[in-house]
Amino acid sequence: MNWLFRYANPHNFMRLSNVLLPITAVATALCLGVGLYLGFTVPPDYQQGSTVLLLFIHVPADVAAEAAYGAIAICSLLSLVWRHPLSDIAGRAAAPFGAVFTALGLITGALWGKPMWGTYWVWDARLTSFLLLLFLFFGYMALWNAIEDEVRAARAAAILALVGVVNIPIIKFSVDWWSTLHQGESIVSGKIAPVYLAPLLIMMLGYILLFVSLWMLRIRTVILERRARTLMQRSAA
């Protein structure tokens, strides 16, 4: 854990992220560019036709949303157990991006569902648990904004985030545990046609890198905002 605490120091984080951010930003642009190019060159699926193109934005958005929630959960655990202030900043910084990726997963999924299932929405386990993920992000952000005392807000939000972790395996295994319109897992099981696998993995990596880049930038922004606030308080005293 020592390495983690070394970089959990705001000063060290600013130095490390100053080096990492340009690298992840360029890697994001490359992955999304190559992934989109490859995506628009694949042949139509024999069953789903050209709607297979939705695979390359729907699944990456879902994966990025779950990664964002995972990041918040880890930060929450670090905050509750070790009470490190940077973990609160990091958890809070990830939430807006997680909410956007979740909303994108739901919207692109609905636009895929209509031509394939004949409906934009069904209250099945996968879709409902994913909608719950969106509400967890909203609830987490609302708690931070509703409680004035930052220490209490961080604790309440962290507890909510950790309770909500139970939803992640439910999302993942919902297609196995219950009867659902949503298709089952196809990447690890090798059911996906190889021609679609490369653009999908590259787009997934692109979305994850985008999340990591924006997350780092947001943490850096909040650190600067806190420094500015401290300076203002000092000058006012």
Partner: protein, 47 residues
Amino acid sequence: MNFDLGPYGVYIWPAYGVSAVALIGITLWSVIGWTKARAALAKLEQK
């Protein structure tokens, strides 16, 4: 590259459009926030 998506284009293009707007939107929001915070801190440090 194949941009002829046939009858499914009516679902695919809006999905790509919404994704592009959202991802560009959160990127701009983050960059603008960073620029403003850096400028505000620099102003305070000059005082």
